[in-house]
C-alpha cells in the first residue's frame, strides 16, 4: 500500500477506505471506462485473450490468497481448476441446474476439496508442502480420468451452453461481461478479506507462524480455511472455463497449468491482488505477443521460422529470467515504484 504521505484522516472510517486521494479515484475510473470500451474495440482474437486473462486473474487471485498472503505454496492449482470445471459442467449437464447456480456449486465443491488437500499443511511447510499439494494435482486428475461414470473419463465433457431465462449465453462478447464482472467481484472480495481480521491472520501465519499461534490464531483452522477460500476462487475460474469453453478436458489442467499460475503470481507480485491481475495478464499476453511478433518476423527470416516455436519458448523463458533478475518482487512492485517516483518526482531522496 502507498505510504500515505500528507494524507490525514479524521475518522477511522475514512482511514479504512481503499482509496484516499483524488488521483486514486481517477485511476479507478479510467480503468473502469477502459474495461467498458475494450470489447467494442478488440478483435475476436484479442477478445478471447482478454477473456482468458479474466479467468486466469480469478484463479491467480485465489492462488495468491494461499501462496502470497498465507505463505503456503501450492502446486495443486490445476487439480482445483479441474474440480471447479467438472463440477459446474456436470451440474449443468447432468442435473440441468442453471449455470449460475452450478458455478456456486462448483465454488463450494472446490473449496471443500481444497480444504481436504490443505490438511497436510498442518504438519508440512515450504517445499515439503508444495510437493504434497502436487499429490492433489495428480490424484484429482487421476480421479477425473478414471471415474468414467461421472466425468466421462479421458474423453472431453461437453457442457451445454448456459441458459438464463430462455436466453442462451454464448459468444466471446457476452462472456466478456460475465468474466470481467466475476473478476471484479473476486478482486474486491479478496481485497476486503485482507483488510479484516481474518485476512490479517492469514498474513500473520505467513510472516511468523509461531507468533501468530501465540496471539490466538488457530493454525489448523486458518490454514485449512486459506486453502478453502483460495480453492473457492480457483473453482470459480474453473467453472467459468467450463461454461465459456463449453467443453472440459482434463488435459487443460495439467501440472504445467499449476506452474503457470505460480508464475503469474510471482511475476505479478506475491501478496498483492492487483499483482495477481497484472501477472495473469502478463503471462497470457507474453506468449501471445511473442507469437505474433515471431510470425511477423518469421517472414523476413525463413531460417527463424523453422525454429519459431522453440525461439518463442526461449524468449518466454528469457523474459521470465530477466524480469525476475531485474525485479524479483514482481510487477506490482514496479508499478508501486513508478507511482512513488511520480508522486515524489521533483524531490527524490
Amino acid at each position: 500500500m502507498a505510504t500515505a504521505t500528507g494524507v490525514y484522516h479524521s475518522t477511522y472510517t475514512a482511514d479504512l477506505a481503499l482509496r484516499h486521494t483524488r488521483s486514486e479515484h481517477a485511476r479507478l475510473a479510467i480503468v473502469a471506462i477502459a474495461l467498458v470500451i475494450l470489447p467494442f474495440l478488440a478483435t475476436p482474437y484479442w477478445l478471447t485473450v482478454v477473456n482468458q486473462i479474466g479467468i486466469a486473474a480469478i484463479g491467480a487471485i485465489g492462488l495468491n490468497i494461499l501462496v502470497g498472503y498465507t505463505g503456503q505454496i501450492s502446486l495443486g492449482q490445476g487439480g482445483f481448476l479441474a474440480v471447479g470445471a467438472y463440477t459446474s459442467g456436470l451440474l449443468v449437464g447432468d442435473l440441468g441446474l442453471p449455470f449460475p447456480l452450478a458455478m456456486v456449486g462448483a465454488v463450494l465443491m472446490t473449496a471443500l476439496v481444497g480444504a481436504f488437500f490443505g490438511l497436510p499443511a498442518l504438519r508440512l511447510k515450504g517445499l515439503y508442502l508444495a510437493i504434497a499439494t502436487l499429490a492433489a494435482q495428480f490424484v484429482i486428475i487421476w480421479v477425473v480420468r478414471n471415474w468414467d461414470v461421472v466425468t466421462g473419463g479421458t474423453a472431453a465433457l461437453a457442457v451445454p451452453a448456459g441458459e438464463l431465462f430462455g436466453w442462451t449465453v454464448r459468444g466471446d462478447f457476452t462472456w466478456y461481461w460475465i468474466i470481467t464482472g466475476c473478476a471484479a467481484v473476486a478482486a474486491l472480495a479478496a481485497t476486503n478479506l485482507f483488510r479484516t481480521g481474518l485476512g490479517r491472520a492469514f498474513v500473520a501465519i505467513r510472516d511468523q507462524d509461531i507468533a501468530a499461534e501465540v496471539i490466538g490464531v488457530d493454525p489448523l483452522r486458518h490454514k485449512v480455511l486459506a486453502f478453502a477460500i483460495s480453492s473457492g476462487f480457483v473453482g470459480l475460474a474453473g467453472a467459468l472455463t467450463a461454461h465459456y469453453r463449453l467443453i472440459v478436458t482434463w488435459e487443460r489442467f495439467t501440472l504445467e497449468v499449476s506452474i503457470l499460475y505460480l508464475a503469474m503470481i510471482i511475476v505479478g507480485g506475491l501478496g498483492s491482488v492487483a499483482g495477481s491481475i497484472y501477472g495473469a495478464a502478463f503471462m497470457i499476453l507474453l506468449p501471445a505477443w511473442i507469437q505474433q511478433l515471431g510470425q511477423s518476423v518469421g517472414g523476413t527470416f525463413p531460417a527463424l521460422s523453422r525454429n519459431l516455436p522453440a525461439v518463442q519458448q526461449a524468449a518466454f523463458g528469457l523474459v521470465i529470467i530477466l524480469f525476475l533478475v531485474f525485479e524479483p518482487r514482481g510487477l506490482a512492485r514496479i508499478w508501486q515504484r513508478m507511482k512513488d517516483y511520480i508522486r515524489l518526482w521533483p524531490f527524490r531522496y
Binding site: A4, Y12, T196, L198, A201, V203, A211, E213, V214
Partner: protein
C-alpha cells in the same frame, strides 16, 4: 475517575513528576483478569520438561499473583524461556500443571491447551528475539493482538461493508489507546520491519497488550539496550502494570531493572527453582549469588 483523554498536541510534563500518569484516562480496560489484586493468577505446579536427555525444567513450582510484576531470573539455559513456552502452550511439559485462574469457576490447565487457546484464555507474551509480523504495519500488528476478541466470519469479511467494517472500527479504538499509551502514534502506518530495534520491542509489548491479557509474559524486553533505552522500556512496563493493573511475568538479565521494577522474583537454575521472594530477599540469597549474580558482583540496585 474519568479524566479527559490526552488530546493531540497536549504537552506532557517532562520534569519527572508522576503527573502525566494520571492525566491519561482510557475507555478500555487493558487488564483481562477477573481476579482481585493479590489473588493467585498463575500457579505453576511441579512442572517438568525435558528434550531427549536435556532436562530444561525440573519440578518447578511457583505462584504469580494478580497485579504483580513477577521476575524470573537465572543463568542462560536455566529454562526461563522454556517455562514461558509451557505457559503459552508452545511446549508441553511431561509432568506437572500450570493453572490459570480466571475468577469464573475452575482454573484452566495451560499445559494441555494449544497456544491459540492459551491466547484466548488470556495469556499474552513477547519473545526473546522479536517475533513481529515484519511486513505489516504497526497498526496491523496491534490489530492482530485483537484477533481473539474479534469474530471472524468469512462472508462478512469478503463483503466488508456491514459487520466486518463495524468490527474493525470498534477494535481500532482500543488499539489507538495502546498506541497512545506506548507513545508510538507516529509509527502507526510504518511497516515494523523498518523500525529501530527498541521500537520493535515496544510494538511487541503493544501487541501483547492489545490482547487484554490476564497475564503478560515478557521475555527479555530490554536486552540489547543501553541504560537510557532501558529506562524508557522499564517505564512502559511499569505503566502497563500500574495503570492497567496487568499481571506481568518478566524475564530479564539486568539486575538493576529486575530489582527496581519487580514485586516478586523467582530464580531458576538448571531447570530448578532456587527461590522465590521479594527482590531484597532474593538478592542476598547465597545460592542466587553463587549461581547467578556472581560473588564478585557489586550489590546492584543499591543506592536507590
Amino acid at each position: 475517575m474519568p479524566l479527559p483523554a490526552l488530546r493531540a498536541g497536549e504537552v506532557r510534563p517532562t520534569d519527572g513528576s508522576r503527573a502525566h500518569v494520571v492525566s491519561r484516562a482510557y475507555q478500555h480496560d487493558l487488564n483481562g483478569s477477573g481476579l482481585e489484586r493479590g489473588a493467585v493468577q498463575v500457579e505453576v505446579d511441579a512442572v517438568h520438561l525435558h528434550f531427549g536427555g536435556v532436562v530444561a525444567i525440573e519440578e518447578v513450582s511457583l505462584e504469580v499473583r494478580q497485579g504483580d510484576i513477577h521476575a524470573i531470573i537465572g543463568p542462560n539455559g536455566a529454562g526461563k524461556t522454556s517455562l514461558l513456552n509451557c505457559m503459552s502452550g508452545l511446549y508441553r511439559p511431561q509432568r506437572g500443571a500450570i493453572r490459570l485462574h480466571r475468577g469464573d469457576g475452575d482454573p484452566v490447565d495451560l499445559t494441555t491447551t494449544r497456544p491459540s487457546r492459551s491466547a484466548r484464555l488470556g495469556v499474552a507474551r513477547s519473545f526473546q528475539n522479536i517475533e513481529l509480523f515484519r511486513h505489516m504495519t504497526v497498526l496491523e500488528n496491534l490489530l492482530l493482538g485483537r484477533h481473539v476478541h474479534m469474530r471472524h466470519r468469512l462472508a462478512a469479511s469478503l463483503a466488508w461493508f456491514g459487520p466486518a467494517r463495524r468490527q474493525e472500527i470498534e477494535h481500532r479504538d482500543l488499539v489507538e489507546e495502546v498506541i497512545d499509551l506506548l507513545e508510538i502514534p507516529a509509527l502507526r502506518k510504518l511497516p515494523v520491519g523498518a523500525l529501530a530495534y527498541g521500537l520493535q520491542k515496544r510494538v511487541e509489548l503493544g501487541r501483547a497488550l492489545c490482547m487484554q491479557p490476564a497475564v503478560l509474559l515478557l521475555d527479555e524486553p530490554m536486552a540489547g539496550m543501553n541504560a537510557e533505552e532501558k529506562e524508557d522500556m522499564a517505564r512502559f512496563v511499569l505503566d502497563v502494570n500500574e495503570l492497567a493493573g496487568v499481571t506481568t511475568v518478566l524475564i530479564e538479565h539486568d539486575m538493576g531493572v529486575v530489582m527496581d521494577v519487580s514485586h516478586q522474583v523467582s530464580v531458576l537454575d538448571f531447570g530448578r527453582c532456587l527461590v522465590t521472594g521479594e527482590p531484597d530477599v532474593v538478592r542476598s540469597d547465597e545460592r542466587v549469588i553463587k549461581a547467578y549474580l556472581g560473588a564478585g558482583s557489586e550489590p546492584m540496585g543499591a543506592g536507590t
